[in-house]
């Protein structure tokens, strides 16, 4: 499950409870900057063996999940 993996990676990075991260969570509210988000996306890309476009429109966890699901749905 993409949400689980994202929670796990974020929690590792900022040392928080994975359960505190929801789809509505904004990356900016986690105190991580855009390069941290990029690093997170890169880990997701490795995990799911996909390539994602990263830009400022990736604001919430839901945005990231949507991008992953659209890539993995294409197979």
């Amino acid at each position: 499950m993409v949400l689980e993996k994202v929670r796990e990676l974020i929690a590792e990075k900022i040392n928080c409870e994975p359960g505190s991260i929801t789809e509505e969570t904004k990356f900016a509210d986690l105190g991580i900057d855009s390069l941290d988000v990029t690093e997170l996306v890169m880990s997701i890309e490795d995990e799911f063996n996909i390539e994602l476009e990263i830009n400022e429109s990736m604001v919430t966890v839901a945005d990231l999940i949507k991008a992953v699901e659209s890539k993995t749905a294409k197979g």
């Binding site: 900057d33 390069l35 996306v41 890169m42």
Partner: protein, 317 residues
């Protein structure tokens, strides 16, 4: 037959701009810049141009090598921030240092220094050169938009040069291009043709920061792995990795993904910012003059940038 590096030189303009000074007219802060990029200060040109910086670095490299300009068989330079489209920086360097050989520039943006080494290697291999001068020189302050806090805090001005002589020091290289202008571009002045229907673009560097970061980290990791595997080497065989100084966070993440200690990478971005094609030769000069490298050390140079291009090599010092 390839080459050995027999001399290095660098020059940065004397005017230093600290993050604090920058914060007085750009909406940024010392803390943000240090944390996001790793830069603390940068040198900027006042009355000097990329050609001036190039000539000074070249003279220092020639002195360091003990080579007379008239011994040079070839001069290659690189810049994305030159004073003129023509004559090229290398031609002006040739004139001003009193050399008599042919000279030309290449354009591979921040990866240019390794592209220049690769180009020079071909001339040495064919026996067409015994001594070469390579220069990376940048006046980045001219091509950044000082109202764009995302880019103007990153870059700095400077030049680095190396003198090469025939030898066996160029062990292996890997060069890659993924052409496109969506991630990094520096448009030229569009001109004033009465016939042109093109839209004017600002002649400043535009960078998609996140995509650039991702590309750079992946490029560095992939190149280093490829060079090591291709030559039956491990990181223990490598004395030092000298990366293009684009952003400290790129170097840190690459080190983490490669599972290398951070001190295996040489970092001086805090003092100069990103000086594009000059960053690696500036680092080499610092390493050379500090005596940090010993003859026979294997070092990896790894560069990446607009194009998009990345190029890395193993050098025997």
């Amino acid at each position: 037959m390839s080459f050995s590096i027999i001399g290095t030189g660098m020059y940065v303009p004397p005017r230093i701009v600290t993050n604090d000074e920058l914060s007085r007219f750009v909406d940024t802060s010392d803390e943000w810049i240090r944390q996001r990029v790793g830069v603390e200060r940068r040198h900027v040109c006042t009355d000097e141009t990329a050609t001036d910086l190039a000539c000074k670095a070249a003279v220092r490299a020639l002195e360091n090598s003990g080579c007379d300009p008239k011994e040079l068989d070839i001069i290659i330079a690189a810049t994305v921030s030159g004073d003129m489209a023509c004559p090229s920086v290398s031609c002006m360097v040739q004139r001003r240092i009193g050399a008599e050989c042919f000279a030309f520039d290449i354009n591979a943006a921040c990866a240019a220094f390794v592209f220049m080494l690769e180009t020079a290697a071909g001339f040495f291999e064919r026996g067409r050169a015994r001594k070469a001068l390579l220069v990376g020189a940048e006046q980045m302050s001219k091509i950044v938009n000082w109202e764009d806090r995302g880019t103007c805090v990153i870059f700095g001005d400077g030049a680095g040069a190396v003198v090469l002589e025939a030898g066996e020091g160029y062990i292996d290289s890997v060069l890659t291009t993924k052409g496109g202008d969506e991630v990094i571009k520096i448009p030229h002045f569009i001109g004033k043709s009465p016939f042109s229907t093109q839209k004017p673009q600002e002649p400043y560097i535009c960078m998609e920061g996140q995509e650039t970061f991702k590309y750079a980290v992946n490029a560095m990791c992939s190149d280093i792995r490829r060079l090591l595997e291709g030559n039956g080497l491990t990181l223990d065989d490598i004395a030092l990795i000298v990366p293009h100084q684009a952003n400290k966070r790129i170097i840190d993440l690459a080190a983490a993904r490669l599972r290398i200690q951070a001190d295996k990478f040489y970092v001086n971005i805090q003092d100069y910012g990103n000086t594009s094609s000059a960053s690696i030769p500036i680092a080499l000069d610092e390493l050379n003059r500090s005596g940090r490298l010993r003859r026979g050390d294997l070092i990896i140079l790894t560069a990446f940038g607009g194009g998009l291009s990345n190029a890395s090599c193993i050098i025997k010092w």
